[in-house]
């Protein structure tokens, strides 16, 4: 056992046990104390630490420690063949794994310049928007939980369970989906999927509206969230905010409309924006985005074209199993693909998708080997979480908790 275990890092704990609770001794001036929010504090919903300096309930400054679940994604990606990276991306923003999966696949497709059938695009849109709904539901219901309203959380989680079932129908897993393959999908949507999707589209709005009316116009909730953790649009851009958090600050940057990928240009949807960039705006923007996602899914499900669920990529998409037996060429391809021996062009490519938290980018450098030479993820959480101290300075601990949950900081994405 290495010696880091022996090291006592008592100060990392949520409260320092060896020290009297002193609201005063820290500094001579005023009643200032330090307070450890995290790493195991219930409000962090994941593991990261904020050391707050507080005066009573008021936060004077804060310092963050991250990296508690650093898992070395980027190093890991340098050691895995291209098709084995999809399961790794699952675990980035685990609330919306399919977006990560498909984003990665599209990056590779961009590198090899593959032609993707329209049907695959539409299937991807459906899956990705479902994932976005799942992601936003977690975030917003957790904002509700942090304000003390637990019941809304249980209502929307029942619907989220249905999204899981949909994913399960396509790929066989609930959360870490490993959905899709380079060039398309593993299998076509089954009739059950279509049926369940229809059911979901029918039942979801009602439950969602219930959730909405439990919180959105409740004065207690509005008082709690308005002016909690605000950030201006300009400052948000400086910090590199993206996604709903940037849109809450009033800037309608959305990768889906700016650099449409996967046929997003075909769909009619609006981009909700907020005004002040506070917790209420973030909450409302996410609520509206869920509605827009529903609209997109409806359009996609209605207009989904016939065709193949995969691109014609013999170098990357595994041949059907019957062919592997009967066809020497297919067997060779099969082996080559699994072993990762197919030729990959050298080059570098940046591709971004609108993930649950905003622009999720993949910077892929390939030297033609079986693994990426370098794969860097643009993890939105990691970049915008640095703004947290600035957002909470001057507000109270309660505000800090709400700001944290409404920022939707996902530890997996934060620490990579």
């Amino acid at each position: 056992m290495s010696n880091w275990i022996e090291e006592e890092k008592s100060s990392l704990l949520k409260s320092n046990q060896n020290e009297k609770p002193q609201l005063s001794k820290e500094t001579i001036d005023g009643d200032i104390a330090t307070l450890n929010l995290g790493p195991t504090h219930p409000a962090t919903h994941g593991i990261f630490q904020n050391i707050l300096r507080v005066d009573g309930e008021k936060i004077l400054s804060s310092e963050q420690t991250v990296g508690y679940i650093h898992r070395a994604f980027e190093k890991l990606a340098e050691r895995r063949p291209f098709n084995q990276i999809t399961p790794i991306t699952d675990r980035l923003n685990y609330c919306s794994s399919p977006i990560n999966n498909i984003g990665w696949e599209m990056t590779v497709e961009k590198l090899i310049q593959a032609e993707i059938p329209k049907r695959v695009d539409y299937m991807r849109v459906i899956i990705m928007e479902l994932a976005r709904i799942a992601d936003h539901l977690v975030c917003n219901s957790v904002v509700g939980v942090d304000t003390g309203a637990l019941t809304g959380f249980t209502y929307v989680f029942q619907e989220r369970e249905k999204i899981y079932e949909l994913f399960e129908e396509v790929c066989g897993a609930r959360l870490t989906t490993n959905i899709g393959r380079i060039g398309g999908f593993e299998r076509d949507f089954s009739p059950t999927f279509h049926y369940k999707l229809k059911e979901f589209l029918r039942t979801f709005p009602k439950v969602f509206n219930e959730f909405d009316s439990l919180l959105a116009r409740n004065r207690i909730f509005m008082d709690r969230t308005m002016k909690a953790g605000p950030i201006s649009g300009e400052r948000a851009l400086e910090y590199g905010f993206v996604g709903p958090n940037l849109r809450a600050a009033g800037i309608d940057y959305d990768v889906r409309s700016m650099n449409p990928y996967s046929s997003y240009q075909d769909f009619d949807f609006i981009i909700p924006v907020g005004v002040n960039g506070d917790t209420y705006d973030r909450f409302m923007v996410r609520q509206e985005e869920i509605r827009q996602s529903l609209r997109i899914i409806e359009q996609a499900a209605k207009n989904i074209p016939e065709g193949s669920f995969k691109a014609d990529l013999p170098d990357f998409y595994l041949p059907p199993k019957e062919k592997v037996y009967n066809n020497m060429e297919a067997l060779i391809y099969h082996f080559k693909i699994v072993m990762g021996e197919t030729p990959i062009p050298a080059g570098e490519v940046y591709h971004s998708v609108e993930g649950g938290n905003g622009e999720l980018g993949y910077y892929l450098v390939s030297d033609g080997g079986r693994t990426p030479y370098r794969l860097q993820f643009r993890r939105p959480c990691f970049i915008y979480y640095q703004a947290y101290p600035e957002m909470i300075t001057g507000s109270t601990i309660s505000d800090a908790v709400l700001t944290l949950s409404s920022l939707n900081v996902i530890a997996g994405e934060l620490d990579a």
Binding site: I5, K9, T40, Y68, F153, Q158, Y164, R174
Partner: protein
């Protein structure tokens, strides 16, 4: 650490708990308050387990204790990195006896897919684990399975076990301070 057979042979008690002990242990098993140490993906599945569709409350476990003092069961769900290891250990030390540990998911149990320089290859290196739940992340059904296994352990545990020499050795092996 925690096979049922092991428990029963400790203290030479044989396989039979006394009747009173049995009642008390059963009562205890029905009131295991969890401390969710959820770090990543498995935490989301744990949330789903708490939700309406699987309802952990049926086991009397909806009362989550984020304070280690009040918890009986440490549910470690998600990747534990080496940076986080000492914290996990500290939380375990802060829990009051009797305490159990459920390791949920591949990452917590063995490091899973993350065989990397920064990830702890299984939390059993720093704290004793009672039940392992496989899966990445496990389905709620599997988490409940694990919890039922924990209940089995609790139901068969003599009240004296936590004072036994074997138990002290176990803690000593993991460098865990007692009597904080």
């Amino acid at each position: 650490m925690g096979k049922i057979e092991d428990l029963q042979t400790i203290n030479g008690e044989g396989y039979q708990l006394s009747r009173l002990e049995h009642v008390l242990a059963t009562a205890r098993a029905n009131s295991v308050w969890p401390l969710p140490f959820a770090t990543s993906c498995c935490g989301i599945e744990y949330m789903a387990t708490m939700g309406s569709n699987y309802d952990l409350a049926r086991f009397g476990m909806e009362r989550m204790s984020f304070s280690p003092r009040q918890a009986d069961l440490l549910i470690v769900a998600g990747t534990i990195s080496k940076k986080l290891g000492p914290i996990l250990k500290k939380v375990y030390e802060q829990m009051a006896e009797p305490k159990w540990v459920l390791s949920v998911g591949a990452c917590a149990s063995s490091g899973g897919i993350f065989d990397t320089y920064s990830v702890l290859q299984g939390i059993d290196r720093i704290i004793p684990v009672d039940v392992y739940v496989p899966g990445c992340p496990p389905r709620p059904e599997q988490i409940i399975d694990g919890i039922i296994r924990i209940h089995e352990l609790v139901k068969n545990e003599p009240l004296r076990r936590r004072y036994s020499e074997e138990y002290k050795h176990l803690l000593h092996d993991h460098n865990i301070e007692t009597n904080e």
